[in-house]
């Protein structure tokens, strides 16, 4: 009798537990449907960009951009209301992943994106600048500016780093690895779908053709062979960093935060990209130099030489930063320790240098 009661209790508890979880799942799904239906509060950059590209629901889409840069309007099939909202959400994720600009209610529209990145600084537009579509005043796209549309037309192609045929969703997963805190969104997550929708829209607006390689796609990488082979030197890199970069990114590379908003992102420490990232010079030594040379310092892009950029990237790779996912718990703990121990030591060493006579600049 007692055992039968115990069995009933066991089954009852299991049913209550699973039923409760099912109800939670249903509630979460309803919330997601509701978010999908509500109008999107765009960030200023996204608003300007999407208006300039004439994003609206309709049977056909003609990009105003093509006419503006002196080409012919191309007619492609249009977007539904739901598509438009997905594209808008995608733009918000790219431009303002942490929700600094359009925060509050709009945060739910980012599908908890901050859950998947480490620290409080990371936003897609740190690398994919101007909401993933960087242009000069005349509307010319810039070589090596990580254009998302140009990236989308390269989807489902061979990726030389992973050796896989990467879909755009899997390619985005690579981005999450760069500043991962251990877990990545599921490949079916709306987070990836919305960014894909936005990237695809950029490709349509710029009339980029599928399967083509455009110069604005990716970083314009700088291999050692593209320099005059003086050799990479992090001491020189540290010097250039202090002269050119430290005023914004800080002496220790911790970035600049004002009123809870990131003005300049961290390039070292907790809020920075991880050791596994392709931005880490020690992992891939061509990408970070390429990014620096094409995009830094803002307003004076292109003033640094290839070797300078390699030196700076080398120096950055020596600063303490979080371990990547693949390096295991021991490495992660070690890096955490280094991020606590090294900054005061570096600050102390810097204070010694500033009190001694300045070396003659070369």
């Amino acid at each position: 009798m007692n055992t039968i009661a115990a069995k009933f209790l066991k089954v009852f508890l299991a049913v209550v537990l699973f039923g409760g979880l099912y109800l939670v799942a249903v509630a979460k799904h309803d919330e997601r449907d509701r978010i999908r239906q509500t109008a999107v509060e765009l960030t200023p950059d996204c608003k300007a960009k999407l208006e300039a590209y004439g994003l609206a629901a309709g049977p056909v889409y003609r990009s105003p951009y093509l006419v503006r840069v002196g080409g012919e309007a191309v007619e492609v099939s249009g977007y539904s209301e739901e598509d438009v909202r997905a594209i808008q959400r995608g733009c918000n994720i790219i431009d303002d992943l942490q929700g600094f600009v359009a925060g509050g209610e709009g945060l739910g529209q980012r599908w908890n994106a901050t859950r998947f990145v480490r620290g409080t600084h990371t936003t897609c537009s740190h690398c994919h600048q101007n909401a993933g579509d960087k242009q000069d005043e005349k509307g010319n796209r810039i070589q090596g500016s990580n254009n998302l549309g140009a990236s989308w037309v390269m989807a489902d192609m061979y990726d030389r780093f992973t050796g896989l045929i990467l879909s755009h969703e899997l390619r985005q997963m690579q981005c999450y690895i760069n500043s991962s805190n251990g877990f990545k969104p599921n490949i079916a997550d709306d987070l990836l779908r919305d960014v894909t929708a936005y990237s695809r829209f950029i490709a349509a607006a710029l009339d980029l053709k599928i399967g083509n390689r455009y110069l604005e796609q990716g970083m314009d990488e700088i291999p050692a062979s593209a320099t005059n082979r003086r050799g990479d030197d992090y001491v020189r890199g540290a010097h250039i960093y202090r002269e050119q970069c430290a005023s914004c990114h800080g002496q220790q590379g911790f970035g600049l935060v004002q009123d809870g908003r990131v003005i300049y992102p961290a390039v070292a420490g907790r809020n920075s990209f991880s050791l596994d990232s392709r931005m880490n010079f020690a992992a891939v030594n061509t990408i970070m130099p390429g990014f620096i040379c094409r995009n830094m310092p803002p307003g004076a892009e292109g003033t640094l030489e290839g070797q300078d950029c390699r030196d700076i990237a080398y120096f950055l790779s020596t600063l303490p930063r979080p371990a990547g996912d693949l390096q295991g718990p021991l490495y992660a703990v070690w890096q955490q320790l280094m991020m606590i121990v090294m900054p005061p030591l570096t600050a102390y060493a810097d204070s010694l240098r500033s009190s001694s006579p300045r070396p003659v600049a070369h």
């Binding site: 299991a14 099912y22 799942a25 859950r115 997963m173 599921n186 490949i187 079916a188 718990p329």
Partner: protein
């Protein structure tokens, strides 16, 4: 040969119980097409039944080994692809060859006996937790990420994904399967059929959804076409030039796979031997596994090893003959040949629910409870359990093996030493590992008293270093040795020792010890 009818009933039950497990293991754990599990349940079971003389031994596909294949190969190639299958076959063959080493090198095979219960139970519990976390994504009809979601602190993220973006139809099918199985297994006569009935209920609900909502809306993944499955499906492991770099990276995985199989086979045989009061040499089980796993990759099959739950099933049904397993393999072959269209509509979420249930079954409090009564056992159990959760499987197996050796050595290295008056009494082993402990006490004794008697009458084992130490101690004028096992009195021993020299004393005492041991 036992009564034909009884054997048939046991075989039929075994076949019906194994089928859903076999499919679930290959599709949700190993990332291989369903026929891999089915062939393992046919050929793996048949080979081990023929090669292993144990009367209740039942081989076939195994949860842990399937999971190990999935974990090892996930970063290497996309699952279910041609490359992946090639690598999987290579991995299984390598594991079979590693197992063959355990047959050929006798001491290596003997080391498996050092794996004690807390370690095996720790591994099993850890893998149970892992299986539950691992099947969360397929439970909710979500794709598996390419990154291995192995550590526990990442798995909760999959759980959140299930709640937020899971396919609700998939979740419903999974829950129907889970709850049906849970309810059915409470009733003892149907206990062994719980999994099958759960799958039937899940499939029925999935068919209902397909009829009302439409499969184009539910987007439920199914086992799909099995019509290509025939009597045998030959396959070749890939050893091509371009695969070599990847094959080298999966070598630790092959060792893990081999060890996980052997651990379970040896532990299961040991447990069943004691349960049945009979004895079958576990070496024969190792041989059966090794030979099977060297042949199975050429037959499109998962690797085989002992299955605790199926052996328990055979035992409880009274199948005291290995013909039952062989018959089950043949029945399964017939079922697959004629029931393929029915198997094809089984939904994947139901398979995932089955894996979760098996994972939960692996965490059995009744098995674990005794380990917490002894502190040393508790430490070993927890270390083994946690290393599965915080390291990868290879790390866990290595930690488990090292722990096993450390455990046994620690036992031996702490003989019971007592000092009463000037008599130093040693009970236990006198060998290089225990000498430091003994020497510490010895030096305390000679500091207290200038005449010391070392009584090693209750030493069971003395190695060469121990003999040399005893001889050196004897050389000191104020120390006398005592061995009360001899019929002569202690003085006679000493006289002889003085006359015969140092080596002789040692040899005598070790001879005594050998004679003593043979009495037990």
């Amino acid at each position: 040969m036992p009564p034909l009818r009884g054997t048939f009933v046991v075989g039929l039950t075994l076949a019906v119980v194994t089928l859903p497990q076999a499919i679930a293991f290959s599709t949700t754990l190993a990332g291989l097409p369903p026929h891999f599990g089915i062939y393992a349940a046919i050929w793996g079971v048949l080979f081990t039944a023929l090669l292993n003389p144990s009367s209740v031994f039942s081989g076939g596909p195994n949860t842990t080994m399937s999971a190990a294949i999935g974990i090892t190969l996930l970063p290497i190639a996309p699952q279910f692809g041609a490359d992946y299958i090639g690598y999987a076959l290579t991995l299984i063959l390598l594991a079979g060859l590693v197992q063959m080493l355990f047959v050929l090198i006798r001491p290596l095979g003997r080391t498996l006996d050092l794996i004690n219960e807390p370690i095996v139970n720790g591994l099993i519990c850890g893998i149970g937790v892992f299986l539950i976390c691992k099947s969360l994504t397929s439970f909710a009809g979500l794709p598996i990420n390419t990154q291995v979601e192995w550590p526990l602190w990442i798995a909760w993220q999959s759980f959140v994904a299930v709640l937020e973006i899971g396919n609700l139809y998939a979740i419903e099918i999974g829950l129907v399967t889970l709850i049906t199985s849970l309810v059915v297994r409470q009733w003892r006569p149907l206990r062994n059929w719980a999994i099958l009935l759960g799958v039937v209920a899940g499939t029925a609900y999935s068919e209902y959804l397909s009829a009302t909502v439409g499969i184009q809306n539910t987007l439920i993944e199914q086992i799909a076409n099995l019509s290509y499955v025939g009597f045998v499906l030959p396959s070749l492991p890939s050893f091509s030039q371009e695969a070599m770099a990847d094959i080298i990276t999966i070598l630790p995985g092959a060792v893990t796979l081999a060890l996980l199989g052997l651990f379970q086979t040896v532990a299961a045989m040991r447990r069943m031997n004691r349960k049945m009061g009979s004895y079958t040499d576990s070496r024969k089980g190792i041989l059966a596994d090794a030979v099977s796993n060297c042949v199975l990759p050429f037959l499109s099959s998962l690797p085989t090893c002992a299955s605790f739950n199926r052996m328990w099933l055979v035992f409880s049904l009274g199948g005291h003959s290995r013909w039952a397993s062989a018959v089950s393999a043949l029945i399964l072959l017939l079922m697959v040949l004629y029931l393929a269209p029915l198997i094809a509509i089984i939904p994947m979420p139901a398979m995932a629910a089955i894996i979760m249930l098996l994972g939960a079954n692996m965490i059995n409090w009744e098995d674990i409870k005794p380990h917490f009564k002894d502190r040393r056992e508790a430490v070993v159990f927890m270390a083994s359990f946690l290393s599965v959760l915080f390291l990868d499987l290879f790390g866990a197996v290595i930690v488990g093996s090292l722990l096993a050796i450390a455990y046994s050595k620690w036992e031996q290295a702490h003989p019971n030493i007592s000092l009463s008056g000037n008599v130093l009494k040693i009970r236990g082993n006198l060998y290089y590992g225990s000498l430091p402990v003994i020497e510490a006490m010895y030096h305390r004794a000679i500091a207290q008293d200038d005449r010391v008697v070392i009584d090693f009458s209750e030493c069971f084992y003395i190695d060469q270093e121990g003999i040399r130490w005893l001889a050196a101690a004897k050389a000191a004028q104020h120390v006398r040795l005592a061995d009360r096992r001899r019929s002569d009195d202690r003085r006679a021993i000493e006289r002889r020792a003085a006359a015969d020299g140092k080596r002789r004393t040692g040899r005598r005492s070790s001879k005594v010890d050998r004679r003593k041991r043979s009495e037990f």
